[in-house]
């Protein structure tokens, strides 16, 4: 098998040329326009959990063929900085959503301020009590 490039023999005519000698050495071929190189891979939704007990927060997607591969990639893409305790990956096709055409079902929610605890008059009494007893 000739798959071990000896690193010395120059490639005859690299179809991708670069200022970086490492890239020229690899004798790469350009992807044809419109060609989807990842089309055989499905996507996975990644959720990032900062601390135990905290809710995992959606961080983004990765392309992968298996859950194990998705977790490998999720670790490097979404746990590169800051603290991480765990990651979840879920097949994108396993996530069910509303249609944006139905967005009107949520339309009046912002008006329903009575659902906000601050709406109630008792709030003023709580604040007065907190001020009197110096509670933050």
């Amino acid at each position: 098998m000739s798959n071990h490039n000896d690193g010395i023999t120059p490639s005859p005519r690299p179809s991708v040329t670069s200022l970086d000698p490492r890239i020229n050495r690899l004798d790469l071929h350009r992807t044809k326009e419109g060609e989807q190189t990842n089309s055989h891979l499905i996507t996975w939704e990644v959720f990032h959990q900062e601390k135990r007990g905290k809710q995992p927060v959606h961080a983004g997607i990765v392309h992968a063929s298996t859950p194990e591969m998705a977790m490998l990639f999720a670790k490097e893409q979404y746990a590169r900085r800051g603290k991480t305790t765990n990651l979840w990956v879920v097949k994108t096709s396993d996530v069910f959503t509303f249609s944006y055409d139905d967005e009107d079902i949520f339309e009046t929610t912002p008006e329903k301020t009575f659902r906000d605890p601050a709406f109630y008059r008792v709030r003023e009494r709580i604040e007065a009590y907190q001020a009197k007893n110096k509670i933050q």
């Binding site: 798959n3 071990h4 690193g7 890239i23 392309h63 490998l72 490097e76």
Partner: protein, 252 residues
């Protein structure tokens, strides 16, 4: 404790990490897919970080030159890396197999070193074990995936494994200080490491449906630990030090 023995151990570990880190970073920007490009580059960066930490111990605890000088201003013959890490990246199957074989040895070595009587090394070992655990997880997942992939991927993995194994066994080349390191409790020794490694690697390779190559002792590629290298190290060092050679004393 024998300082020359400890230096020898630190140099070979640091040089292995620097050279494989540099080699694997050659995939940056041209990896098989975006996610894997990022993961492989990140691990390469970790390796260079391990080299830096080991050179720092050589400097702080053993009076050697600074990490930059050790990395960029030594002659090829002064490097103690094994020849496995010097080989060109080849195609991705070879880079993955090398990563698999090398990182399993690293994980076991650092695990053994957590009990070292040389405290700076024991502390470093405890610190980096988690990073290397991920590297091994990555290698094992890819090996399993590709060994069970298509006929071509299985054949490529086996062919690269056969090619890499005589070099991989060279990781465990013993130095003249072997007995001193064991006696002082610095490191439990290359024989012990090789034994554990063969057991671990053999089990994973077999489970993946590949065949463990049978390498006779006479075919193992030794020399790296004593400064005898393949033809690939010199060009690698020239490229790696190209910028520092312009002005070795420049302030960064």
């Amino acid at each position: 404790m024998n300082n020359e023995a400890i230096k020898d151990l630190l140099y070979k570990m640091a040089d292995d990490a620097l050279v494989i880190g540099h080699r694997n970073s050659e995939w940056t920007g041209i990896g098989p897919m975006l996610e894997e490009d990022l993961a492989f580059s990140s691990m390469a960066q970790d390796k260079v970080g391990h080299a830096q930490a080991l050179y720092q111990i050589l400097h702080d605890a053993l009076g050697e030159k600074t990490p930059d000088e050790l990395a960029f201003q030594r002659e090829e013959k002064d490097f103690k890396c094994c020849q496995l890490v010097e080989l060109p990246i080849g195609e991705y199957d070879f880079s993955l197999i090398r990563h698999f074989l090398f990182d399993h040895a690293e994980l076991i070595r650092y695990d053994m070193l957590t009990a070292s009587t040389f405290l700076p090394l024991a502390q470093l070992a405890r610190k980096v074990k988690g990073e290397i655990k991920y590297h091994v997880m990555h290698a094992d997942t890819f090996l399993k995936q590709l060994a069970h992939g298509t006929q071509e991927s299985t054949a490529r993995m086996q062919s690269s494994l056969d090619y890499a194994m005589p070099y991989a066994l060279g990781i465990f080349e013993k130095s003249e200080y072997e007995d001193v390191l064991i006696g002082d409790g610095v490191f439990a020794g290359e024989n012990k490491l090789q034994e554990k490694w063969l057991e671990k690697v053999g089990a994973i390779v077999t489970t993946a449906g590949l065949k463990m190559p049978d390498v006779p002792d006479s075919k193992i590629i030794y020399g790296g630990r004593k400064g005898y290298h393949s033809k690939f190290l010199e060009p690698l060092l020239d490229e790696m030090t190209e910028v520092t050679q312009i002005d070795p004393n420049a302030e960064w």
